[in-house]
Amino acid sequence: MKTAPNPDFEAECIRRILQGERHLFHDLIRPCERSIYFLLFALLRNEADAEDAAQETVIKVYRNLQNFRGDSQFRTWVLSIARNEGLGRIRKGQARREDSLDAITEEQGGDYTPAFLTSWREVPTEALERKELGEILRKAIEGLPAIYRNVLMLRDIEEMDVKETAAVLGITEGSVKVRLHRARALLQRDLAPRLKGFAPKRAKLFGWGA
């Protein structure tokens, strides 16, 4: 979530859209666009598929707007529709992807021991300007097992809270926390040794000077 939801604005918008001011739908959906796309990208792992599914999702949201009851956040409802769209495509085999549906919905065992290192303490945020760092991060996230990638995408990239993440993915809040912990542990193990090389400058966020 890079844009905070605004329930009053949404409710007013929806009321007016349903009364015929259809053009307001552009403004209603705009704050959700990013989350829709990245949720679908996490599921489908392909830009073109995610964009096509995002467009389809938005059309479905518009056509079903009268069914939104307001008992969840609007964005939560929208993202549930996006997730169903993504899962539907996976079922139909439209999407070019490796994960099976099981891999998206079932818990996996595994080793979540962290990478042992003591020298990567600085975060080189300005190094993000360098394309290769962004590429390393994206590849690492895309390489996570699907159930962890989906949770990480909503919690750490779209910055949703635990409750909304659980509602969108149809899992318990406890599962969100476990999966997020594992996702971060896997990323730390994968990235920490490789990102050491990106810490030459005196810019840092945590652990400087140790």
């Binding site: 964009e51 467009q55 518009y62 979540y112 962290p114 971060r184």
Partner: protein
């Protein structure tokens, strides 16, 4: 009673999110004061969380929003 490293790793994510209770937090803090390994693991995990949240890592494809609203416009008319 001192908690061990394994115990700290189990709670690193919750610790970063501020979701451990005060008693456990102070146990972890005490452990971190003397354990360089866990301290480095905490820092690197937190660094990873900060980096992946950066808007520059995941950007919408160029023209995404324009194409979406153009498609929508055709639906709305």
């Amino acid at each position: 009673m001192r908690i061990d490293c394994n115990h700290v790793w189990d709670y690193i994510s919750a610790y970063i999110d501020g979701e451990v209770d005060a008693a456990l937090r102070s146990e972890i803090d005490r452990h971190l004061e003397t354990c360089e390994l866990c301290s480095a693991i905490l820092d690197s995990t937190r660094n990873v969380v900060v980096l992946v949240a950066d808007d520059r890592v995941f950007e919408l494809p160029a023209g995404f929003s324009e194409r979406l609203h153009a498609r929508l416009e055709r639906e709305l008319v």
